[in-house]
Symmetry: D2
Subunit: 424 residues, 4 copies
């Protein structure tokens, strides 16, 4: 963890400017009849989970260029996640990926307590073969044509639930790469039927207080068809399984030009939005930092979420899912968590009564300008003050660099080679 | 109609070559254990509907360049449709668009008998304002924020059913342009709710032997969001409405790169595929001639349809829906109907037992080559012989040109100006 | 024009809040070592042209829903453009479209003086047929296979230059819809050769102090191929023609996912960026309001422009080019001009020295956060104060509505029918 | 290599049917006034290079699932390539990738003679770090901000030329992954300038009888910008470098919906088309088997190539570049080479005089049907007979399976683990 004195010193230098900015914003918002303290309080309560794999440097199929101090195991990863939360105060949980992060439950719980984190959803992996695995997932897992391979994949998911129960997780997220690379390689209907049957077996093993989140993705690693290719198929799955099943939306998993915020709305409306993988993308599943490419799109997603905050039973899970290929992953995750919180704060500035009136009157320009006004408000002072209030850093990246954390772990953790990727 | 002597003369010249090609293909297929006569018999039975608006020259928002002899009304259009069926023998029905084609039922029936056609699905129009219309659809129709406007749109659809009943149609197809051009212009959930409620009112007026087909489209004329934007939303609609409701798939209405044949499969699997609008596209809803851009995609769609031919209760409707901007519409429609029939014939050549075996064995290359072998078989002799057997033309376009039909109607029908588009 | 008293009253009510916001922003920027007055001065000097056709309601190929008070001719249009500039002080010129706006030069100049506007680039139209036209552009204009049709199109462009010279314009913008709807319809190389030869004839008639801007577009109205389909072809044209020729970039004319700001950079680097058509899009050439869909993209384009402001000889032209289908066009154009100015102001906040250092050090996160910091600064007070300083409105849309301009012209100008589109 | 007796036996069984099909096709073509023997002779002369890396199983960033008998080094790879050419007679050369394939020139030449192959273009690799490498390519290679890193990358390319000269290669192909993942990470203009300067240093070391081919790609591994992102930038490079430089087109490296055959035409017209990487794609750079997704697009590319066959100095290089993730790579490469030859043969069936006439007359339907008629002709008998005539297999995949080659090498070559990708 970072030495609190380093954070304090960093904050001291920045405090005066922050106060001035915060006060000015407070006055401005009060002119818009918005209470800045109320917005800050909402930010306090909002958290986004860190994926354990996100703290390692990601790669592409061409290469991976590791940085210094790559985490060696789940305990190193949790140390890194602890630093992220220490500085940002916005990432209270970590999401494990099995088998990468498999460890004794007691050890995981001890480490979690040490670094001040809890556990978010469990993530299973049937898109890779493991050294000790009997049957290969080359041609699929939950939807494989071979019953024994499907059974193996189901069993793996059940074991993820088992571990998750022992560490306090309350959800299982399933993403599979099953699909095909050639027209005709698979029979679409039979493959989907097999997926559904496998998923039902997993669902049958779900504890009563758990949720099962399934994730759709248009393509990659399969390049002609993917068995859970879009929200339509994902909705069918969640409906077939039952009340505890819902859809997970990864912002980078859609076709070009698709209106993602409308998909978010539809899934909320029909009771099947379970959670998010936040990231950004320009081309495909680029897994870029949240808000780095199209920050307005992220805001529009949060506009839907905030608009439905009071829908009964609607408690979506929030997680980052990114691949950090050219940055320090800790820095990217701190920055990305901040972008998610920023969108949430901005979405809370929307004048929803005025918006409803403009919508009913078909006054499109007024309606859209209400959103734009909220979006272009610079809420950084709110985010920074919320961090400060909770013991974090006004400038998390600066404080992190001042603390020399990366250099420290680079000296403690041996260098790793550059092969392979391994990021969802 | 075309003078039968012209067709006969045209066929006489082509007959010898056709026979040689047909015999050679028959021998080749027999080596693949396929009976050419059985395939031809299937082609006999397959028909695709012509949209009444397709026989007029289409346009874009920039311009429309009419050709000679543009049809002036539904009766001219039915004359043109009659010629298409006379020469191709594959387009036995016409699909009306209301109010463009509104006319006394008796007159429509008389004309249909005269030209040898029946009536396919009725198409309503609430995406344009009509001169005698009380309330504007500028901001939507079935999902408009104003109840009276929604009621007007519902009423229009009910009137389409009424006319359809009197001329023997058995389906209503609904496509609306409702959506928004700005983030915030509409509330997605409320707008969809309003659409559903309006659609339920129409459904309540549906005769017991009718089907209600709803059509999804990603964008255009709305450019930020569209209320029925994809098959996911369309499926929700069809499910909410009831058993007589199903989805209509237009091949040009999807996001870039989307796997359409998989959507077809999903809708069949869940009992909600109602019909097709065939066309081709390279960019958006280009409404190009069927099979002109990506003929293999059309084949892959038919591969799904043929694979499910024996699914109980699965009887999708087939219609062309194209905009002919630079060709003689009659020629394009004859050519396009032929492409649809070609894909259907090719899909009937797939060795489905071998395909299933290859799929179960994950022998991807063998599986895909089974499809490719069917696709690359030149079935033109089968299509031509099927036309000839039924009194049509071996070479429909050549016969049509020899008959001078376009010149004839150009002399009878006054020239029209070039403004406006008006093609779905 | 709007009664100045209305503007004054509107401003009076808003002045106190503006001053508070402006002062607070000034202090904040001074902490970032930025002089707010210097930024405001840059905003004073920046103008964006209004396209004459933009003040009419646009449409799609399906329908056009006109609003009240549609302009009847170029003089009505210039009245509307005058109001836009009166209130925003950011749109000092209007860009004419011939033949739609053809009128005696003296009348145009008188009207321009009356409403306080100048004339930007001339726009030719060879994508539609005019009533008095000998040869049709159905199959192309500058690249038509027929020499006489090409000559007619060349002649039209030369006449646009002639009129432009007499009213003080200094540029001709050429956009053609030439292309094809079917593979094989045209020979790509021959068609492009013909385009180049026609363009050379126009270029030969260009006055020494004029520029020739050619505009590329991926598709529409042609749906298989377009003769000037992308910046690569456009660059070839500009290079073949000579020094006075350069490329015009319309933000909505590219393939999905394309990095437009990089195209902007390439064209600047190779001396061939001539100007812009600003708008926004989600799917294709949607012609939505600038900054309404992806405001960060607009900022990134301006980041390139500001970064190259001191490149010798680089003086790009700026114009809006939008289709206002569901809003009052005057309101949309005021709002859009403001968005363009906003991006320009934000791009002037980028700390370019720090950016260069971060780039050289491959510190990607610092570099991108420098851009984000500039982008998320709410510069509305600067824009509003710049308007106020120059006699415009603090809140242009509010002032416009208070003035009742639309109601006034609606009572003066007869209603028009809803047919047709006609927006570039 | 495969035992010739196995091939003979395989051919014996298929010969009768082939002769019948070939004779029937010959008669059919003679009715279209095409000499089947002339087409077959053209097929004899056409070859496509195999990339050395293509015979290994490919993967994605998520996983690689190796098959049995993976080649261990370039000599194993050349054995596999030899088998492909032995059976198909259409792949006379192999293209090396350095450093993966670095070996003593003499050993390479001996092996090439043994397996009956020559060497196509050399491929450099500066998109990965090698164990013995001083400076990392994490932030770029030829365009890196650091001069020493650029020099290292230049040096590597020069060493590729050196090795290539000693084994008879006549071209260097450069593809780099340089770009950025964040707006602002790089300065577009400076980065491109650095690329150009590095490329000029390589070009300066090019032997007089060599060509330098540069390859553009829209994205991946960089996900915000790529330094050679499209044919426009690639054309600028080839022009800046000089006469021996030209562009390489990989069919999967373009934005969605882009008309690739038109890019091919433009590059031919301006003398800068150097070669191809053939493959197919549905979403991004999927590297699927040639012709497996959109065979008509492959045909349309060859339609351009055949149309320009007689352009002086136009001798493009042809290579497959695919990633075989779920098939036996040898089978996929045989099948894909056949698809390339198929498109070439079909493009030779186009009636170019009739096509020109239809184009000049703007008879779009006739023009496109001329292409479709060529495309739908099943030329498999020509391809098979050409293989047979030259000692190959009538059914290459069947013969390959009968020979048990995969089982043989699987027993000789040790199993490899599943990590990593490594396919261009």
């Amino acid at each position: 963890m970072i030495d609190p004195d380093v954070i304090s010193r960093s904050n001291e230098n920045a405090l005066e400017h922050l106060k001035a900015d915060y006060d000015a914003l407070g006055e401005h918002l009060s002119r818009r009849r918005i209470d800045i303290e109320a917005i800050k309080a909402k930010v306090y309560d909002f958290g986004v989970a860190i994926p354990s794999w996100g703290v390692g440097t990601g790669g592409t199929r061409f290469a991976r260029f590791p940085g210094g101090g790559e985490p060696r195991d789940i305990f190193d990863k949790m140390d890194d996640c602890g630093v992220i939360h220490q500085l940002t105060r916005g990432t209270p949980t970590v999401s494990l990926h099995i088998p990468w992060d498999r460890a004794p439950a007691g050890d995981l719980l001890s480490k979690a307590e040490e670094v001040g984190l809890g556990f978010d959803a469990m993530n299973s992996n049937t898109f890779q073969d493991q050294p000790d695995q009997n049957l290969s997932y080359k041609f699929g897992s939950l939807s494989h044509s071979d019953a024994a391979t499907r059974a193996q994949a189901v069993e793996h998911n059940l074991s993820c639930i088992e571990l998750g129960q022992s560490i306090g997780s309350k959800a299982l997220t399933i993403w599979v790469g099953d699909g095909s690379n050639f027209p005709g390689q698979t029979n679409f209907a039979k493959q989907f039927e097999r997926y559904l049957n496998s998923a039902k077996e997993i669902y049958a093993g779900l504890p009563a207080d758990w949720r099962l989140l399934t994730e759709h993705k248009m393509y990659e690693p399969a390049f002609y068809s993917t068995v859970v290719q879009d929200w339509g198929s994902n909705y069918l799955i969640a409906t077939e399984l039952g009340e505890q099943a819902a859809c997970l939306v990864d912002l980078g998993h859609h076709a070009p030009n698709v209106n993602i915020e409308m998909i978010v709305s539809r899934l909320i409306q029909f009771g099947k939005l379970g959670g998010f993988h936040f990231n950004d993308s320009k081309y495909g599943d680029d897994d870029l930092d949240s808000g780095s490419i199209d920050p307005y799109r992220l805001f529009l997603v949060f506009n839907e979420l905030v608009d439905s905050e009071n829908v009964e039973g609607f408690h979506p899970m929030h997680m980052l899912d990114q691949s950090h290929n050219v940055t320090d992953p800790i820095e990217s995750l701190m920055s990305s968590a901040t972008e998610v919180l920023r969108s949430y704060a901005q979405a809370n500035l929307v004048d929803r009564n005025a918006l409803s009136q403009a919508q009913d009157a078909n006054d499109a320009l007024t309606a859209t300008n209400i959103l734009k006004t909220a979006f272009r408000t610079d809420v950084e002072p709110i985010l920074a003050m919320a961090r400060l209030d909770q013991g974090g850093a006004i400038h998390p990246i600066a404080a992190y660099r001042e603390a020399g954390y990366r250099q420290k772990v680079a000296s403690e953790r041996p260098e790793v080679s550059g092969a392979g990727g391994g990021i969802v």
